[in-house]
């Protein structure tokens, strides 16, 4: 083979994209392309209105608005919906949504135990509780995060996703934590005082 031929031969190989060989992989490549062409995100594809309100309320209580943004304003509820819609398995999603229902059931029981007048036609939900009642319930659920189902499990998942979604958000990374990516060598003994 002449050198020119070799170069052309090799060049042709380099210019081609790497096509998936299996049918499944080819379909996947097509789906990915459609996803990109599809453009913008549709918010809340899994959580219904009541569930959105519940998740937003609890996420906001885990990481509240203070002098810095809280979970709600960095769109943690939308992140949780994305994870439920595109990341979680069917079993995980079912368990989580059942746990959210259980949180409302626990809230309803807590409200009916109190002396509050119950004028509403529907059962009270978590979002209807007083702040003190909400805090009381979440404190109980916080101790039950290791539960394998129900309200404790749902709160545990919500807490993990809220913290992860919050601290990996752009405002948290860039403005609050001011996460650095580059360092001039490793320093292993730097004075530190917790922020007051």
């Amino acid at each position: 083979m002449q050198r020119r031929e070799v170069v052309r031969f090799l060049g042709a190989a380099l210019a081609l994209p790497f096509l998936p060989r299996s049918a499944e992989a080819a379909i996947e490549a097509g789906e990915q392309l459609h996803l990109r062409l599809g453009g913008g995100e549709v918010p809340f594809r899994t959580l219904n209105g009541a569930q959105q309100a519940l998740v937003t309320d609890i996420a906001g209580m885990i990481i509240p608005e203070t002098d810095t943004p809280g979970a709600t304003s960095v769109q943690v509820p939308q992140f949780i919906d994305l994870i439920l819609s595109e990341w979680a398995s069917d079993d995980e999603k079912t368990l989580f949504l059942a746990g959210l229902a259980d949180i409302d059931a626990r809230a309803s029981a807590l409200a009916s135990n109190s002396v509050q007048p119950q004028s509403q036609a529907r059962a009270l939900r978590f979002v209807d509780l007083t702040l003190a009642q909400k805090t009381e319930l979440l404190t109980a659920l916080d101790a039950a995060r290791a539960d394998k189902s129900g309200a404790g499990l749902a709160f545990g998942r919500l807490k993990t996703l809220t913290i992860y979604g919050y601290f990996t958000s752009k405002p948290a990374q860039m403005d609050i934590l001011k996460t650095r990516m580059y360092f001039d060598g490793y320093k292993g003994n730097v004075p530190f005082t917790p922020a007051s």
């Binding site: 299996s22 209580m61 990996t168 730097v190």
Partner: protein
């Protein structure tokens, strides 16, 4: 199509293939590197500086996609939204194993191979390792000793750039080191306390890593962004893509052909040598031949052996190079998973700055100066201490304003992990063979893997838990939590032994210079050649053996002995 002709063929462009390419081209040979996978462009493919919010799943990976296309690869922690693309599509690259004997084969097919995602820990072997087989009657004797490889360790370390702390240990020889990153204040104290308590036997030292702490050989020093498996645009950790292959390219004698899936070696019975290789074009599926005087198989332990298994002739009906019956056998990995983690109750007024990709190493201390009654060989620990910051949040009780303040403004205690990696004894029954029913996406017969850990490895695993716990107790650490992961072989990603070196062609596949006994112009210098595994991470040994084998090959070529 007429065959392409070169002086030398290198199959695979990873750790070993990159070194073969560099050495062969620098010694004047026109060399083609045949890489099965795609080219990698650091400017496009490297994502180490992408922040989590720039990714759809914030770095957690497209789980459904990974489940579908990488059901094996997903078992490696690095298969995430950043680095998953550096691991193979399992549907295109099938292999099989018995249902009750899982072996998870973690693979990277691209220019650079797994040197893009490797762990970068680099430890020399010693004669404690090279002599162990013959002293204990295990497998066969290594045909080399430390003195044979020591100058080659130095040679590859000088080029690669290895940081390390000289400790003067006979069984973990110091290398040609760049200065190490310091231990942090918590690790230094852990080191001191263990030195006192264990009489110097259990040494916490700085991890020895192929990561530059100063500018070296035209490559800038590391900037501690922390996730090497995502790539490195500054070329500060060693990979073939950014170190050896560029060195080969500047000679003007390198041809690098991606999408070139080597099918088999062409054997010429008249000369009793290999004439070249058959290659399937990854895109067109057309087969072509490449011919050369010398062939280096550096496709990874299992792939290189697979190529020879697929190269059967009437003279070698079970695979070229298999007159010993050992080709494909003695497959080994390391054993990992025993250790402990704990809280170190010191220095809450101190922190670290910089994301180290590796921190500490505890060299083997079992069966070094004393003999353990229950097992042979030993293990080392990798690990380190850091303060978790916000990551500790989901483990902490609480919520609300003070909880948020603590996660934003405080770091939590120093937490330290010690995680063991131990030696695996080679056993003949641990093997790869051609699966009679399975081919890959390029029509090439695929592998069936049969490999299990033995009793000695299980005892090492148990002992890792005991000794790591003892070390934390000796430090006065709190919340000591033993770790014992029950992992299947493959997941340490240190496959070795499928074409072992030896002194006798009747019991080994390769001679003391990595030449196939049955076809002496074929060299295998990746993990396939390893006669035993030691407990150290093996890549630096592949590098040294490769450079040594090329030197030998070129000497033979000059003498017209090949």
């Amino acid at each position: 199509m007429a065959p392409l002709t070169f002086d030398a063929i290198v199959v695979g462009s990873g750790i070993s293939g990159g070194w073969a390419a560099k050495e062969l081209t620098e010694k004047g040979l026109r060399t083609i590197v045949l890489e099965a996978g795609r080219p990698i462009d650091p400017a496009v493919d490297y994502v180490e500086h992408v922040r989590p919010h720039e990714l759809r799943f914030r770095g957690m990976g497209d789980r459904n996609r990974i489940e579908r296309y990488q059901p094996i690869q997903k078992r490696c922690g690095a298969v995430d939204e950043y680095s998953g693309k550096f691991f193979v599509n399992d549907l295109d690259n099938p292999y099989s194993f018995p249902d009750d004997k899982p072996f998870y084969w973690i693979r990277g097919r691209q220019v650079g191979g797994r040197s893009i995602m490797w762990g970068r820990h680099t430890y020399r072997w010693s004669d404690l390792d090279f002599e162990a087989n013959v002293k204990q009657g295990v497998a066969v004797d290594w045909p080399i000793r430390y003195k044979d490889i020591a100058p080659w360790y130095t040679y590859v370390e000088r080029f690669a750039g290895i940081q390390g702390r000289p400790e003067g240990l006979a069984h973990l020889p110091d290398g040609h080191f760049l200065p190490p990153w310091p231990l942090n204040v918590a690790e230094e104290k852990a080191r001191e306390l263990c030195l006192q308590k264990f009489g110097g036997e259990r040494l916490i030292t700085n991890a020895r890593q192929a990561i530059l702490t100063e500018n070296h050989g035209g490559r800038p020093k590391c900037h501690l962004c922390g996730h090497c498996e995502r790539g490195c645009v500054t070329r500060s950790y060693f990979s073939s893509l950014t170190a050896t292959l560029p060195a080969a390219r500047v000679t003007g004698r390198l041809t690098l052909r991606p999408f070139s899936v080597v099918h088999s070696v062409i054997y010429d019975p008249a000369t009793r040598k290999a004439r070249g290789v058959r290659v399937v074009d990854g895109n067109t599926l057309k087969m072509f031949e490449v011919h050369a005087k010398v062939i280096f198989l550096c496709a990874s332990s299992m792939e290189s052996a697979r190529i020879l298994l697929n190269s059967a002739t009437s003279e070698f009906p079970t695979g070229l190079g298999n007159s010993s019956g050992e080709l494909g056998h003695n497959l080994s990995d390391h054993i990992m998973g025993g250790g402990a983690r704990a809280t170190l109750p010191w220095f809450t007024d101190r922190r670290s700055l910089g994301n180290r990709p590796g921190a500490v190493f505890v060299p083997r201390f079992r069966n070094v100066k004393t003999t353990h009654p229950d097992f042979v060989r030993g293990y080392g620990f990798e690990g380190g201490a850091e303060r978790a910051g916000w990551w500790r949040g989901s483990e902490m009780s609480g919520f609300g304003t003070s909880f948020k303040k603590s996660l934003v403004g405080d770091l939590g205690p120093w937490e330290m992990t010690l995680y063991g990696f131990g030696e695996m004894l080679p056993r003949h029954e641990n093997r790869i063979e051609l699966d009679p029913h399975l081919v890959d996406a390029w029509g090439i017969p695929a592998l069936r893997v049969v490999c299990t850990y033995g009793e000695n490895e299980k005892k090492l695993l148990d002992d890792m838990v005991v000794t790591a716990t003892e070390m934390f107790e000796a430090m006065g650490a709190k919340d000591i939590t033993p770790i014992k992961d029950d992992t299947a072989p493959g997941l340490v990603i240190h496959e070795m032994g499928t074409a072992r070196m030896g002194r006798d062609p009747k019991t080994s596949v390769l001679n003391a210079h990595n030449q196939v006994w049955d076809a002496e112009n074929v060299f295998m210098t990746d993990g396939a050649c390893m006669t035993s595994t030691a407990n150290q991470n093996p890549s630096i040994t592949y590098m040294a053996l490769t450079a040594r084998a090329v030197d030998h090959a070129v000497t033979l070529l000059k003498r017209r002995d090949l």
